[in-house]
């Protein structure tokens, strides 16, 4: 049976995925330090389950296929997460669908497909953009960084670490877009780019030290329905300033604060 969904590398596991699988399948010893070992646990279990579920599936001989004719095919070569990719695509394919459906890079999410949520945010030539409103055909020669390209092997990007540390997500679906957006946003601040809240518009562009309000405004293109916003702001603030941010929860017991009421 022909595989019509050509995915250049998606069958290949990344190094860390392979490490996880062999880890889970064989020795089960700690391999990433305390926090990470736990956090990889879920991923490992999922990968193993997926492998097991899909391992034996074969498409039956009488499966129904349509004859394939790529309409308005466009060739495009671009660099994704450091790897050159040459694709031939229907002109209608967006960068997001190319990543998710053709290249197996499902980290970039489709939340609305209309530029209204930011889940599909990726970094193209150093700028955050929406991959759902970008035609893949327009990406010839461009450099694309997705969430899959931020970590260096097992070393997470500081923004990824901070999102875990400050619980900057719940369901996790908007998270790749939030993180790509945040990474690019801090570069914008370094370049002195303005936001709607900027007061000194007429001044020269200087690296901006962001207030929480500034972070909020600059991150408002990324919706989060779980409502992790305050924690997202904390995560970004720590990466931006290098200083730890205080918790906003506490356990309270009777007799501690009797003054009111």
């Amino acid at each position: 049976m022909t595989d019509y969904n050509e995915r250049p590398d998606s069958e290949e596991l990344s190094d860390d995925e392979r490490a996880i699988l062999s880890e889970l399948g064989e020795s089960r010893r700690k391999f990433l330090g305390t926090v990470s070992a736990t956090t990889f646990g879920v991923l490992a279990a999922q990968l193993l389950a997926e492998q097991e579920i899909l391992a034996n599936y074969r498409v039956p001989e009488d499966a129904v296929f349509a004859p394939v004719a790529e309409e308005n095919a466009v060739s495009v070569t671009l660099n994704i997460n450091g790897t050159k990719r040459a694709l031939s695509l229907d002109s209608r394919v967006t960068l997001l669908d190319a990543l998710r459906e053709k290249l197996g890079l499902t980290g970039s999410k489709k939340g609305c497909d209309h530029g209204q949520c930011g889940s599909c945010t990726v970094i193209v030539d150093g700028r955050r953009v929406l991959s759902c409103l970008t035609l893949a055909a327009t990406c010839e020669g461009k450099t694309v960084t997705t969430i899959e390209g931020l970590a260096k092997g097992d070393d997470l990007h500081p923004m990824q670490e901070a999102f875990i540390k400050y619980d900057g997500f719940q369901c996790g679906y908007c998270t790749p877009g939030q993180i790509c957006s945040a990474v690019a946003m801090l570069d914008e601040a370094k370049r002195g780019q303005l936001s709607y809240l900027s007061e000194n518009i007429r001044g020269k562009a200087r690296a901006v030290k962001l207030s929480d309000d500034e972070i909020r405004e600059r991150m408002s293109g990324n919706l989060c329905r779980c409502g992790a916003y305050p924690n997202i702001v904390k995560a970004i603030r720590e990466v931006h300033t290098g200083t730890e941010v205080a918790e906003t929860w506490e356990f309270v017991k009777e007799g501690v604060n009797d003054a009111a009421v």
């Binding site: 999922q46 004719a69 309409e71 931020l150 929860w249 356990f251 009421v261």
Partner: protein, 718 residues
């Protein structure tokens, strides 16, 4: 406790921040075809004729299905199933399903399906739709008479519009068949409920259906029911004999999974001049569809909250030509709380009593419905702690009495409550000799942090580092668990996890004691501590034996125990509720009407907190949802067409980052030995319940304007 109650980062954190966590439509299934639905432009009537020829001629199209050739369900459940007949019962109902080799091809071909309709005039406005009486509890006392006799009377009407869950991940599924066996990856809050649904639809054995959903990109109730996506994806996959992928678009999300119903409410309150409530009549009418009678309990919200001898809650549903509503985060409660907690605030103003004080005057010490005690209720403490944290004592009673430059400042408060439920759940734990544990249960983690919380509980009671615990969920092959809804997951699955861990300990102690010279000889299980891979006497830690040695001595490499927990019988003698006092500060631009929620304090009494880090995140989520509901969210229906119109994120507003400022949580100490052994109550709904009312109350305090129709958009203030 070593791990319980300590802040822990999510165990699925790395998977989520690296983009490797796979949601339903992201599994790499070879030879997958793509599905896309064509939808009805009319809301009511029937399809006279449907022409799919142009769609079928398009490049890449595999096949087009309509009600004429689509597989039919064998289930008699009265849920909506797509493509079952020519009847149209709501606008945007699927009328055809296009399968193609690519998403682009399927999407385009679906646009070319042409239908002729026999169109009837729809009734989508609940205000003019026929109503039917719905279940409501018996009246307490004689509310109308008590109201008439009350020296202080109040009455007002409140409405909330239709609202949609809008999780960031649209519903999606991939299905494939191997002979009579179906595997489906699908967004689900309960894989086994979906498994049962599909088994019925195809009239096959449940064991021939495997439903897999390890990561869910938000749901909030939207993935409790299988909706039309589940059967459609599975049944069409069977027809084409190859894997099929089907995603809702964001627009389709609005008619594809239900919504929080439009609800009209009238609250009549009779009180004494000292603030004592005499009578509450809380009426509600919510909308449903013509095909199902969806009910929730909007007006039941206050029945246990206030000591009021006369209480009446008549409830009706209006049959509209819209899709069927469903449960949406804090269903019923947040709707009812908006009305009742606004009304309580209004009466407090009428009597010039501080709204916190007013609520304490009417505080229920035991369940007013039954006279039974609460298993625990630290709401008074929550008021105290929340007020202190918020600085409530600095509040001036009069509206429009506080300012910050151009901004009017308002402080509002409201109460949330939610039942502390529990359902039967089973957890299996396999503890291996090297101290690693594999834990499994067919629950879900739609975002609250279930992966982490069950890991913590298992680690605590197995006495192993959480890093050694691997918890699996979201697979119908795993041991039974309830759907993730109603804030019961941790109480249910957590209790089972504790039970399974205890069973392992019991087994190990028994095995150790088979050796007559065991240092544990004669000890009961309770006398033994299991930690860091050793069993030791609590009274004398030197008397110990390694777990690995016990297993080795018995020729074992691992111990597997499965434990099913059920709610204990003692709960029935109590009312089990979680409570919260929710304080809000708003600032309102006096001229332009712009409203900012600048500060929220959630004081929550919901039993034992397992992981405060993720629990605080839940609280934040509840606040953000409350801001959306109070100020922004509305699925506007154009009643001429019976059609939902604000069906995207540009016109259905949910809060953005800039809408949310300070959110603080105080977890109020509450020990509850009745609800379950760990004293867990749940909080995912609770944290939202009072927020919209608290915001509306704060807006009134700031502006002197009482807005009783949500959302409070700025046009209502200028």
């Amino acid at each position: 406790m070593k791990y319980i109650g300590k802040a822990m980062s999510r165990v699925d954190g790395v998977a989520k921040v690296t983009g490797k966590a796979k949601y339903a439509s992201e599994f790499d299934v070879k030879n997958v075809a793509y599905g896309y639905v064509a939808q009805s432009r009319i809301a009511k009537g029937r399809i006279k004729s449907i022409d799919v020829s142009e769609a079928e001629r398009q490049s890449g199209v595999v096949k087009v299905f309509t009600h004429l050739n689509a597989p039919k369900t064998k289930s008699s459940d009265d849920d909506f199933f797509a493509l079952q007949s020519d009847k149209i019962v709501f606008s945007d109902q699927p009328i055809a399903f296009v399968v193609a080799e690519s998403l682009e091809q399927a999407r385009f071909a679906a646009r070319l399906v042409k239908a002729e309709y026999e169109e009837e005039k729809p009734t989508s406005d609940p205000r003019s739709a026929p109503t039917v009486d719905s279940r409501s509890p018996k009246m307490r006392g004689d509310a109308p008479a008590a109201l008439a006799a009350s020296p202080v009377k109040f009455e007002a009407e409140y409405t909330i519009p239709i609202e949609h869950h809008n999780p960031m991940e649209p519903h999606a599924g991939i299905a494939f068949w191997e002979g009579e066996k179906l595997t489906i990856f699908i967004k689900s809050q309960g894989v086994q409920a979906f498994q049962g649904h599909l088994a019925k639809c195809f009239d096959i054995k449940p064991e021939n259906v495997r439903v897999v959903s390890p990561f869910v990109g938000g749901a909030f109730g939207a993935a409790l029911n299988p909706h039309y996506i589940t059967f459609l994806t599975a049944s069409i996959a069977r027809e084409i004999k190859r894997p099929l992928k089907f995603n809702y678009t964001r627009r389709q999300m609005f008619t594809g999974h239900g919504y929080r119903p439009y609800t009209w409410q009238k609250v009549s309150i009779g009180a004494e001049k000292d603030g004592k409530l005499r009578s509450v009549i809380h009426e509600a009418v919510g909308n449903t569809s013509t095909i199902e009678n969806f009910t929730e309990s909007p007006n039941g919200f206050g029945r246990t909250l206030y000591e009021c001898p006369n209480y009446h809650t008549p409830y009706k549903i209006a049959k509209t030509d819209l899709p069927t509503p469903t449960w949406m985060r804090a269903p019923g409660a947040v709707t009812g709380a908006f009305a009742l907690e606004s009304a309580i605030d209004e009466v407090a103003y009428q009597l010039k009593i501080d709204p916190v004080e007013f609520r304490l005057i009417n505080y229920s010490e035991k369940d007013p419905e039954t006279g039974r005690p609460f298993s625990s209720k630290a709401l008074r403490e929550a008021f105290k702690q929340g007020a202190a944290k918020f600085g409530w004592e600095k509040r001036k009673l009069e509206p429009r009495s506080m300012r910050d430059g151009n901004w009017l400042v308002g402080w509002g408060v409201a109460v949330g409550t939610w039942g502390a439920g529990q359902a039967p759940a089973t957890v299996r734990i396999a503890l291996s000799a090297d101290g690693n544990a594999r834990v499994g249960s067919a629950t879900a983690d739609i975002g609250p942090g279930t992966y982490t919380v069950i890991t913590i509980i298992a680690a605590e009671f197995l006495g192993v580092d959480p890093a050694k615990v691997k918890f699996e969920l979201g697979d119908s092959d795993l041991p039974n668990a309830p759907m993730q809804g109603g804030s019961i997951t941790t109480a249910s699955v957590g209790t089972a996890a504790q039970g399974a861990a205890m069973a392992i300990k019991t087994k190990l102690v028994g095995l150790a004691q088979k050796d007559a010279n065991s240092p544990l000889a004669g000890a009961s299980v309770d006398d033994v501590e299991m930690a860091d891979g050793t069993l030791s006497l609590k009274s004398n830690a030197a008397k110990k034996v390694a777990v690995a040695d016990v297993m080795k001595a018995n020729g074992m490499t691992e111990i597997v125990e499965t434990f099913t927990s059920t709610p204990n019988a003692e709960r029935r003698n109590y009312r089990t509720q979680a409570h919260g006092a929710q304080f809000v500060e708003v600032k309102v631009d006096e001229d332009l009407g712009i409203i900012k929620v600048t500060r929220v304090v959630e004081a929550t009494a919901c039993g034992r907190i397992i992981n405060p880090k993720a629990s605080h995140s839940q609280e934040m989520g509840g606040v953000v949802w409350g801001i959306g509901m109070a100020l922004q969210e509305e699925t506007a229906v154009d009643h001429r067409y019976g059609r939902m119109m604000t069906t995207n994120f540009a016109t259905y507003h949910i809060p953005v980052n800039a809408d949310v400022q300070s959110v603080e949580t105080a977890f109020v100490d509450e020990e509850d030995k009745i609800v379950n052994p760990l004293g867990i109550k749940g909080m995912g709904e609770l944290c939202l319940v009072g927020i919209p009312a608290a915001i509306a109350n704060a807006v009134f305090h700031a502006t002197g304007k009482r807005v009783r129709d949500l959302p409070i958009t700025l046009d209502k203030l200028i």
